[in-house]
Symmetry: C2
Subunit: 272 residues, 2 copies
């Protein structure tokens, strides 16, 4: 550590160090809320640890999130995308603790968690970013709304298609297919269903660049929607609107307590 310190002192003054990393905020605030994230008596309550509370949020630009999410998809996948989009903007606008959160940590969500086809990775990455800035109860409401919106939305959005056709995804470092893509509604938050439906409609198979571009635009769309929801929430104007469909509501009238979830029942089960 001594050598690292010396190297560090040559590079940055203490003041600029604290400003850039924001670690002073973390430590000072941490001193006030010590131990709130620590379970049990035998675990260490590190005095320099980041506070276990929602981090500061400021209004962000959904259109910038759309561009960043799209570019980040092509870099490290669908789940990295919205997490990168939101956290990279918060690094620029807030800095501090966001600089110490590895952007790559949501990469595992790609393809519905390591290509298992479960939760859409874009939803997973966006949800993690929401959790960083919102307290737990608000996180649940915002994430549930985002997931519900996703299940009924025709991806990719007309905004993403328009940007794509015009070659306007400005952050991208390599070429991407610039055609107009057909849209599909997944009726499900699962990567498996979302991809299968779009592939059936478009004719572009999973390994094609067109299918990947569809998921890149979807990733941008989910990042933009997450930012819209967070902006509304920050302004005190967030209202949850998602409701399960009538068929599912009918199922849940008997099956509220013998399962967990809000996915459309008849996607997998026969009605009875």
């Amino acid at each position: 550590m001594a050598d690292l310190e010396k190297a560090l002192e040559k590079q940055v003054s203490r003041r600029s160090f604290l400003k850039t990393t924001g670690i002073g905020l973390g430590v000072a605030a941490g001193a006030l809320v010590l131990g709130t994230g620590v379970v049990g008596a035998q675990t260490t309550q590190a005095p320099g640890a980041v506070p276990e509370a929602a981090l500061p949020y400021v209004e962000l630009d959904p259109e910038d999130a759309r561009l960043r999410g799209h570019a980040a998809y092509w870099k490290a996948g669908c789940s990295y995308g919205p997490f990168y989009a939101v956290v990279s903007m918060l690094r620029e606008k807030v800095g501090g603790p966001y600089n110490q959160i590895p952007l790559r940590m949501l990469g595992y969500g790609r393809g519905g968690v390591a290509n298992w086809g479960t939760i859409c990775g874009a939803l997973n990455g966006a949800a993690a970013a929401i959790n960083l800035v919102a307290p737990d109860a608000d996180t649940n409401k915002l994430v549930s709304e985002l997931v519900g919106w996703y299940t009924g939305f025709a991806f990719p959005s007309k905004e993403a298609n328009a940007i794509g056709v015009a070659g306007g995804f400005k952050y991208d470092e390599k070429p991407y297919p610039k055609l107009e893509l057909v849209t599909s509604v997944s009726d499900s938050p699962l990567c498996h269903a979302s991809n299968a439906k779009w592939i059936a409609k478009s004719g572009f198979l999973l390994p094609t660049n067109e299918r990947k571009e569809r998921c890149a635009r979807l990733t941008g769309d989910v990042a933009a929607k997450a930012v819209e929801l967070l902006n509304a929430w920050k302004a005190g104007k967030f209202v949850a609107t998602f409701k399960v469909d009538d068929q599912t509501a009918s199922c849940l009238s008997c099956h509220a307590e013998d399962q967990e979830g809000k996915m459309a029942c008849v996607s997998c089960h026969e009605p009875h």
Copy 2:
């Protein structure tokens, strides 16, 4: 920031500050890998940001992970559980960058992502922890193996049941049901299926403390398994063993490219 700095200087010396937060490591290392996590030309490459590379891993105790995961479930849910378990141990054994990663950020995964019933939250939280310590390609292999193992495992494990019956979950701060719990195999990585199958077998409905205790023990089991996989990987001994079942393999022989995923097909689809 000036006031925060003054407050900070009263609390900790520069040396102990750097040691505890580990931020010196992040900055010094960050200087070597500037910008690796940043997409595009218009984004800021913060010089004090944590490096976008896998963080250091040291061998951890799976049995301690089981206890921490269980306790953390009762604090903030199934997805928080394994993430807390692994990262809190790494804070103690490695410190540094782990102190700056909010433990609460995986909470959103509860109940299969904000109670939607998609990916089991314990898998989601464990996968995020794996992503922190393993490069992307290794993360995909490790997470896929963890998910595959989960789909065929009878939860809760005999180890977790034995600890539970003996009242040995030492980190827990409040009482938990101490009975022997029946086990079930989910045949799926989804919270919805995992809970529905256990509820059908046990007769304990979703809101009961017994069902929650089942998920708490499962959370501990997933945390322990994640640590076992990481230890093997760190020792250069990890070998992926999961294979999809014969029926699913047969489906995939035609459907490898028109969908994404490894979930058992006949859970939702009729064979044809």
